[in-house]
Symmetry: C2
Subunit: 218 residues, 2 copies
C-alpha cells in the first residue's frame, strides 16, 4: 500500500509535467489516471475527481490513502518521503534560492497563463487569440527575464539552476520553457535558461516526462 503512488495527470498540463519529472528523478513509477482537461466539458470537473481534488485541477498524487493537490506541495512531499536524490540543496539559503526560482514560475508565470485563465479571457471577456497570446507572452517575458537575471548573475548557478544537480527550480523551469514556445517570447534573450533547459533534457527524467511521451498524448 504505502509503496504505491497514483498520479492523476494530463499530458499537456505543465504542473503535471513537473510532477512527472520529480517522480522520474526519484525513481518512482506511479499508477496513472488520466484526466482530460478538454473532453466532456473537462474531466477534472467530474464529481468523482472533485472529491479527490476539490480545486478540480491536475495533478493530484495519491499515496498511502492520502490525496495531495498542488504540484509544489506534491514535490515537497516526495522529497520528504523519498529523500534521495534530493530536489532541494543543502543549506537554508540555498533552499530559499531554489524555492524562489521555482515560485517565479509556479506563482507568477504559470497561474496567469493556465487553461482556465486563458479561457476566461476568451469568454466572457471576448479577447481574440492574438490578445490572449500577447497576454501570455507579457507574463512569460517578465518572469523568465527575472529568472535569467537571477541565474546569469549568480555564482551559485551551475550546470543547473543551482549547482550541478537538478532541483525544484529546474523542474519548474523546463515545462515553462515549453509553454513559452506557444507564445511570442524570444527565448534567445535568455541564454542561461536555454543552456539549463538543454542540460535538463540530457537527463531521461526530464526527457521522458514530456507531454508527447505520455500514454494519454494525442
Amino acid at each position: 500500500m504505502a509503496d504505491r503512488f497514483t498520479l492523476y495527470s494530463y499530458f499537456r498540463s505543465s504542473a503535471a509535467f513537473r510532477v512527472r519529472i520529480a517522480l522520474n528523478l526519484k525513481g518512482i513509477v506511479p499508477d496513472y489516471r488520466f484526466v482530460h482537461l478538454l473532453k466532456e466539458g473537462g474531466q477534472q470537473h467530474a464529481a468523482a475527481y472533485a472529491r479527490v481534488n476539490p480545486q478540480e485541477l491536475v495533478p493530484t498524487l495519491v499515496h498511502d490513502g492520502h490525496a495531495i493537490g498542488q504540484s509544489l506541495a506534491i514535490m515537497e512531499y516526495l522529497d520528504e518521503v523519498k529523500p534521495a536524490p534530493p530536489l532541494l540543496p543543502q543549506g537554508a539559503f540555498a533552499r530559499a534560492r531554489v524555492r524562489q526560482l521555482a515560485y517565479v514560475v509556479a506563482c507568477d508565470i504559470h497561474p496567469v497563463n493556465n487553461l482556465r485563465v486563458l479561457n476566461y479571457l476568451r469568454k466572457p471577456l471576448g479577447h481574440s487569440q492574438d490578445e490572449v497570446t500577447d497576454w501570455m507572452t507579457h507574463w512569460i517575458d517578465l518572469g523568465l527575464g527575472a529568472m535569467e537575471t537571477m541565474l546569469a548573475g549568480s555564482p551559485e548557478t551551475g550546470r543547473f539552476c543551482h549547482g550541478d544537480a537538478p532541483t525544484l527550480a529546474d523542474i519548474c523551469l523546463v515545462p515553462q520553457m515549453t509553454n513559452a514556445r506557444r507564445g511570442k517570447t524570444n527565448l534567445d534573450l535568455f541564454p542561461t535558461l536555454l543552456r539549463i533547459e538543454k542540460a535538463c533534457y540530457e537527463l531521461p527524467a526530464f526527457a521522458e516526462a514530456q507531454a508527447d511521451k505520455q500514454p494519454d498524448a494525442e
Copy 2:
C-alpha cells in the same frame, strides 16, 4: 549581522502581509524598508530595488547578506533558520496538506489578482472597474470555495486550518480574506474560513500585521 532581518514591504501587499505575520509568529522584529507600489511609477521598479529583487515585486527579506524574494520561499526559510514556533506541522502528509492549502491561495488565487495583473486588464485590455471586480471575484470564489470544501470536510481541521496552531495555510488565508472583501465575494458561503480568520485575528501576530497597522499605511 546574522540576527538582523530586513523586510522590504508595502502595507497593502498581501504577500508582504503574509511575511509580516510569519515574522510576528517567530518573534522576529525586522528592520523595514518601505517600497510604495504606486508612487513614482512604482518604487519596486527603481534600479536599486531591482538589484535586490529582479522580479521587482514585494516582499523581499534580507538576512545575513542574502536577499530572498517570494513570500513562500521567505516563510520556508524562516521556518528553517528559526524553527520555533513551527509554521508547518509534524508529519509529511500533514505538511503536504498545509502546503496544498497555502498554494491554493499563493498559486491560484493571488497571482491572477495582484496589482500588475489588474492593471493589465485595465490597460492595455481596456476593461472597466466592474469587469475587473468580476474577474477578481471569479477567481476568489473558485479558490476559497475549494478551500472551504477541503477544510470543512477534514477531521484535521481544528481551530486553525490544520489543528490548533497557526501554519502557512492560515498565513496565506487571512490576507486573501481581506482581498476578498474588495470584490463581490459572499464570504457567508465560507463559514469555516470565517471562523478560522476570526481565530487568527485573536492572535496579535495576525492582528498587528494588518495593512492599517503598518508605519507606511495611508
